[in-house]
Amino acid sequence: MEPHDADLRHHYDSELEEIRASLVDLGTMALSNIRHAGIVFSENRPEEIETVRNADIPINAKYTELEARVFEILALQQPVASDLRFLVASTRILYELERSGDLAVNVVKALARLDGIPTDASIHSAVSQLAEASAAMFTRGIEAIATLDPEIGMGAELEDEATDHLTASLYKLVTLNQDELGLETAVALFRIGRYFERIADHGVNIAENVTFVVTAQFPGEG
Amino acid sequence: MTPTLTIEALAGDPKRRRKERRVRTLFASAGMVSIAVSILIMVALIGEAWAFISQVELASLFTFGWFPRRGFYDIPTLIVATTLIAGIGMIVAVPLGLGTASYLAEYASPRARRWLKPTIELLAGVPSVVLGFWALTFISPEFVQRLFSAAPPFTMMAAGLGVGVLITPLVATVSEDAMRAVPIDLRLASYGLGANRSVTVRKVVVPAALSGIVASLILALSRAIGETMIVFMAAGAVGGALRTANPLEPGQTMTAAIAALATGSDQVAGEGLAFQSLFFVGLLLFLITLVLNSVSNRFVRKYRERY
């Protein structure tokens, strides 16, 4: 093997590194909006709905820009092996991030349609617990990108069961109290539960894509 | 900040430009001188040859032999002898020279080649007077007379064989250069198609090197026709020669005739036109060489494989 001192592709490497950093940035932006949306919903702050909606605009813009850059690199550098896996995974991760951002907006939209959520303590706590767990799972995805740790993706499915349980208990709670809540509110709460569950799923997918980048296999494959 | 470029900066050093012009003039005049000399030779040849041909009785150009001091200028005698000796020379030199060239270019190991090639080049540098002497003292008694017991010591055969030895290295080295200049890629292509060495040499290398090989043969033929010393020494018939096409008899070539006349080694006094006849033969020799060159040029242009 030749001496390995000269890295031949400085420019290319830094471009890939920039993409990865931008994915983490975009993930952090989405994450804070997801958290914010959870608080806005569970604490019933309709006045902040607009803030959450506006925060999604730069997320979408950054998504579009990043996707274009990944396409450019694919076209110009003809990446192979881990570079190829990283770039292909990046387009998938970008999609997951963008969808998660949209779901945060959906959460506050659901609030906008109601006159306010019920102040019942048990429902309040179930929603905020789910929101936190979902955000935590999503954080794991971002963490995976930041550290390129394949282990996170391998355990993600299991970790995500917490969110699934919280979603199930929220549904049960809503079903039990559907008469007091009324149909509209009950449906809204179901939706919210679904949104947070999806966000956590996106977090799992992101982590699994990172596992693919590193090991060339998705967890549970092969 | 980069300094602004001025037109003067690009004009260059006037001293350098002057020097460039001087050198150019020098080389141009060298070229002019050689052209001028050639023209002078031509003029002298044509003038004297014309003087000869306008005064001589045309019938005396076609008689029984070449005895210029006695007024018998049988040109065919000289042409036959010239052709015969050059022909014998070529018969020796072509197979020997091309064989050597093929061996050196295609078969010889680098080590064998390293000492063989200089040896052959050394042979090319042997003065023709030495070869003439050798033809007379070795080829003639040891070879010609041994094979043909009736042969006299001075024969065109001995001279021809001597000329052959003289021009063999020329054929060998020039042909070898031409063969070696054939790109290795073509040989690889041939071997890659399952050709062995001899097929590769015959079907690929020689055709590709043909122009160089033909050039070497023409060069050798010109040299054979123009060779004087060996013929002068080994072919006999210094004073004059009867017209004959028998290689086992003495004969006189055009060059030998000129040399004999010019040096007076024929030691025969007589006819006043004898001296002018020398220019006529010279002009004839010049024309033959010219024709030979243009024929070969045309041949080469037509058949050469350009790579």
Binding site: M1, E2, H4, L8, A216 | A189, G192, Y307
Partner: protein, 297 residues
């Protein structure tokens, strides 16, 4: 905008139809890729612990590669890694270098090509070769193609053979009216296809290609690659290439060579031999990864 329209057109031009089972069958232009090679293809050439020496210089160390029938096997790696030496040892072109010596065995249809009774001339008639620089003979197009069959005393109809070979090399239509013209009148890409036609005219079953497109422009290169893909139906191809994308595009399997610089010698060795799709998406060795992603120092 014209581009978008074209793209859209191309996308819809792929005919689709429902077949009887109700699933959608998609047919379309043949893709020029290695695809997934079939492990059931017979091994036609076995390089078994092959070492190549030039005098004292140990150029290649113990290379073992099974080469399968009707596949394209690519040899890639940095300069001096011995990939060309390995290629040239397959049809014994290395014999032309006095100091070259091959150890180990190369079995072709089970026969050791370096056996004592094997004539390299016979080997080369069965294992053809195409070189880096197009090297047609300075003869006519026809004579170039007929050269190999002629020296092998081919008994059939030469005109037919020449036409067939030129057709297979996708050159016939371009040269059919000028077969008597010099091969040198052709463009570089055409010359290289002529050399391919010349190589297949001796009906080899293996064709070795030593960087066959490295002196050609991109379009001529693609044409050669397309041709290789067609030739694969009938021939086994081994290609040495500096162009990794080319190896990725055309080959079924790829052997990656590297070079060790130790003890003052530069000895090449095989790092990885995999299916091309695997090698370029998930190489087993980090050395391969470094090289194919362009991070080889």
């Amino acid at each position: 905008m014209a581009n978008n329209i074209q793209t859209a057109h191309r996308a819809t031009a792929v005919p689709m139809k429902l077949n009887e089972a109700g699933s959608i069958a998609v047919s379309g232009p043949k893709r020029v890729t290695g695809g997934t090679p079939d492990d059931s293809n017979r091994v036609i050439l076995e390089l078994d612990a092959v070492d190549v020496f030039y005098g004292d210089f140990h150029a290649v160390d113990s290379v073992t590669i099974p080469i399968r029938e009707k596949e394209i096997t690519a040899l890639i790696g940095p300069s001096g890694c011995g990939k060309s030496s390995v290629l040239r040892s397959i049809n014994r072109m290395n014999d032309l270098i006095d100091t070259a010596r091959v150890e180990g065995s190369i079995r072709y249809h089970g026969v050791d090509l370096y056996g004592p009774t094997v004539d390299p001339v016979e080997v080369r008639r069965r294992i053809g070769m195409v070189f880096q620089k197009p090297n047609p003979f300075p003869k006519s197009i026809y004579e170039n193609v007929s050269f190999g069959p002629k020296i092998a005393k081919y008994g059939g109809n030469m005109d037919d053979l020449v036409e067939e070979s030129l057709r297979r090399a996708a050159l016939w239509d371009e040269v059919k009216d000028k077969l008597e013209q010099s091969a040198y009148a052709l463009s570089g890409g055409q010359q290289q296809r002529l050399c391919i036609a010349r190589a297949i005219a001796t009906s080899p079953d293996v064709v070795l290609m030593d960087e066959p497109a490295s002196s050609l422009d991109p379009i001529a290169t693609l044409r050669i690659e397309e041709l290789m893909f067609d030739l694969k139906q009938q021939y086994t191809i081994v290609i040495v290439t500096h162009n990794m994308q080319q190896a990725a595009r055309v080959s079924d399997r790829t052997a990656f060579f590297s070079v060790d610089v130790s003890g003052g010698q530069r000895t090449g060795h095989l790092v990885e031999f995999s299916k091309t799709t695997e090698l370029f998406t998930n190489p087993r060795e980090s050395q391969t990864e470094d090289y194919i992603t362009g991070r080889f120092g």
